[in-house]
């Protein structure tokens, strides 16, 4: 006999023990231990952080790379003072120099490039050339274009012989920026940014899509694996099919949540670490360089007047605005809803995927069933992207109520503010639907998982759904 066996006690234990946790544990551990999981989990936040950090670093480096540019005019003297220097570039106006001569020597002379302005520029806008050995940065080009445009405009206006033209122009110059303010039901006023809402809508909508789709199809692959390797027969003889299905779905959901959490924590961690090292430098250089930048760098969203621009860096202002706007988002509702929609949406789709996995013999056979499942998901993603343009459209409304698409569309709508009754209705429908789908999937699964060699049709699945025993 085996050692350590107390038959009666063991038998009693067998009957009472719930086996779903055992299944969940296996599903979870085998996936979390996979190399691909570990790599993805670590790599994705690094990439995310890189996405956030790299543009900043590039911007800073551009600033430090000072350029001297020679300006030559062909025979005229219209733009001597038209282009102001910036922190990135100095414009040196050269007289009596031939373009062809300078072309060969400008590098030795310490110039980054030659800006050649032909006198036809007043009438022919593209009569300007910037000659350099490397591709000039876009910011530099914009600066030159803006400056010359302004100067040409000014000179054209001069031809109308208006008195005190310069003062008039200064007076009429205005800068417009729409400030968005949201009033909630309690009448509280919150300053928000449409940009933030759009970004959040995009991120949460896309994240939801990824989580539901990736982990949902993992469920399907897991079911197919068990079916083709016939593991399922061994397991079904010890646990009920529904237990196996729910164990698998739950285990994979936990894998998804784990990965998601690690991503969030790592991304925040990496960004904070880099921010303290990189951004500190920005704030110092930012302030000192403001004055030279003047009007040119003022952005579309800022409401900075010329005076304040001299006091604080526009970037800092923007950053502060960004954070205050981000903080003004209804975070509680967004996070709770996101988790709600992830769980219900995932359960809904995972159960469909499980049913499909049980009905086929291998992965290639899944095609015919996958299409009708993929369509609502893709549609939802498209509508979610449309939502960012127009959150109040009736299309967005309906798609955020219909359960198959609501997880993706509703989370995209949330940052723009959703009436409570709509959210409640959508959630209620979601709960009813996901329970119905899990129930149906379990019925199909129970029959399908033990069917081999027959090509399954929709009709067949419908029949399985109605089996009683």
């Amino acid at each position: 006999m085996n050692p350590g066996t107390n038959k009666k006690a063991a038998t009693e234990k067998r009957r009472t023990m719930n086996k779903i946790p055992v299944i969940i544990k296996r599903e979870y551990l085998t996936r979390v231990r996979k190399k691909s999981f570990i790599i993805m989990t670590i790599l994705a936040p690094v990439l995310m952080a890189a996405l956030i950090i790299v543009p900043t670093v590039v911007m800073l480096n551009q600033g430090q790379d000072f350029k001297k540019i020679a300006v030559i005019e062909d025979g005229s003297d219209l733009f001597r003072t038209a282009i102001p220097n910036t922190k990135e570039a100095e414009f040196v106006y050269l007289e009596g120099v031939k373009l062809n001569e300078l072309k060969t020597t400008f590098e030795q002379a310490g110039y980054y490039g030659i800006l050649f302005i032909s006198p036809e520029v007043i009438n022919v806008p593209n009569a300007i050339q910037l000659i350099s050995k490397s591709q000039p940065p876009i910011g530099l080009l914009e600066h030159i274009e803006n400056s010359l445009e302004k100067e040409i405009e000014r000179q054209k206006l001069l031809t109308y012989n208006i008195e005190n033209l310069d003062q008039i122009i200064k007076k009429v110059q205005t800068r417009v920026s729409v400030q968005t303010i949201k009033i909630d039901a309690a009448g509280n006023v919150k300053e928000t940014s449409t940009g933030i809402a759009m970004a959040m809508a995009y991120i949460s909508g896309f994240l939801m899509y990824m989580l539901v789709f990736i982990f949902g199809s993992q469920v399907m692959r897991g079911v197919i694996e068990e079916k083709t390797s016939r593991v399922v027969e061994v397991i079904i003889s010890s646990v009920r099919p529904v237990q196996l299905m729910m164990g698998k779905i739950t285990g994979i959901a936990l894998v998804g949540l784990t990965q998601f959490l690690i991503w969030v924590i790592l991304t925040i961690g990496i960004v904070t670490v880099l921010k303290t090292t990189v951004f500190q430098k920005t704030s110092v250089t930012g302030v000192t360089q403001v004055t030279t930048q003047n009007l040119m760098t003022i952005d579309q969203t800022g409401t900075i007047s010329a005076k304040t621009a001299e006091a604080t860096s526009p970037e800092m202002e923007e950053l502060a605005k960004f954070f205050s706007s981000a903080l003004n988002q209804p975070w509680g509702v967004i996070i709770i809803s996101f988790i709600f929609y992830f769980i219900t949406g995932y359960l809904l789709y995972a159960s469909i995927f499980a049913a499909i996995g049980s009905a086929v013999d291998n992965e290639t056979e899944t095609q015919q069933f996958m299409l009708p499942v993929t369509i609502p998901i893709i549609l939802a993603l498209m509508v979610a992207i449309g939502t960012m343009q127009n959150p109040e459209s009736s299309l967005s409304f309906w798609f955020s109520i219909i359960p198959l698409t609501s997880p993706i569309v509703m989370v995209a709508r949330l940052p723009f503010g959703v009436p409570f009754w709509q959210l409640a209705l959508s959630m209620a429908l979601m709960i009813v639907t996901f329970m119905a789908f899990v129930w149906m999937a379990a019925k199909i699964y129970r029959t399908g998982i033990l069917m081999y060699g027959k090509k399954t049709s929709w009709k067949e699945m419908w029949k399985w759904l109605r089996y009683s025993g």
Partner: protein
């Protein structure tokens, strides 16, 4: 007393009749063979016993009581197609299945060590299943089937994929398990193993039972008054009014003569006549092999 009984089990898949009024009765601590050509309904019956699927009609009893879902803990099932997770390590996998069968991790570990040592696969504990040969995988699966010491063991084609040496090991393990009190049902095409192992059999063909009973009785029944006489040296016998000589074979200095009685003659009389023909070494009823019986029964039905 019968440990397991199935009474008038019928199962239909769509229009396909898989089992029709099949009954089996498996005595305690015996080995029961479930035979039949491919597609006869053996696997369906096994699945019903495992409660993977339910019968349309008929009843099942374990130890005289109606079979209930919790009884799966008392049944060990080795499916025909081996089911193991390919990417999972052998030991972990065995532990998983043991836990699904309701053993605690600690208990499972102790038993697994015992069995891994017994079947000499200890060094495979940390390997992935896909690295194992088919026979190895089968040993692992065999262990996971018997580990929780169920009262009833069901093996669906347990010998496919084994070389003769390992086949013998598994045969001995099955006999050993019976010694320890287990009752075994197994389905096979390997008739040699049926003769060696089975106490009773049921032969299923086209969803129906066509032969049932103890192996010895069935073979005797099918012997149909045939006897084998073995003589030393080269011996010939002639038929008479009581029996016919069917054939005579010479095998390494012995003559084997098969005769068939045509009247109600007593075997003693045959022996006394035979001793006059030469030095009689043995006299046996000529038991046809299960293989012969299987083929003859199935063909006569088709």
């Amino acid at each position: 007393m019968a440990l397991f009984e199935a009474k008038n089990v019928t199962k239909q898949y769509g229009t396909q009749l898989a089992l029709e009024n099949v009954s089996i009765s498996v005595p305690e601590q015996s080995i029961y063979g479930l035979l039949g050509p491919n597609g006869a309904g053996k696997t369906t019956l096994i699945r019903i016993i495992n409660q993977i699927t339910g019968p349309d009609s008929g009843e099942l009893f374990l130890e005289g009581k109606k079979l209930k879902p919790s009884d799966v803990a008392e049944i060990g099932y080795l499916p025909e197609e081996r089911g193991l997770y390919k990417k999972m390590k052998v030991g972990e996998q065995a532990l998983y299945f043991a836990q699904l069968k309701g053993l605690t991790r600690h208990e499972a570990m102790i038993r697994l060590k015992y069995w891994f040592r017994k079947l000499e696969i200890v060094e495979w504990w940390g390997k992935k299943v896909e690295e194992l040969s088919k026979g190895m995988q089968q040993k692992v699966q065999f262990i996971t089937t018997v580990l929780h010491e169920p009262k009833l063991l069901i093996f669906d084609e347990p010998f496919t994929g084994f070389d003769p040496v390992n086949m013998n090991i598994i045969k001995n393990e099955i006999l050993f398990l019976r010694e320890r009190g287990a009752t075994v049902i197994f389905s096979t095409h390997n008739m040699g193993s049926v003769e060696e192992l089975c106490d009773n059999i049921t032969l299923i063909n086209k969803a129906n039972t066509i032969l049932e009973g103890s192996v010895y009785e069935i073979r005797k029944q099918w012997a149909a008054n045939e006897y084998d006489l073995v003589f030393e040296g080269d011996v010939k016998m002639d038929g008479n009014e009581h029996y016919n000589i069917l054939n005579t074979r010479n095998d390494s200095g012995k003559s084997i003569i098969r005769l068939k009685t045509t009247s109600d003659i007593r075997t003693n009389e045959i022996i006394s006549t035979a001793t006059g023909s030469g030095n009689l070494l043995s006299f046996n009823p000529a038991l046809p092999s299960m293989n012969e019986i299987f083929i003859r029964v199935v063909e006569s039905r088709n």
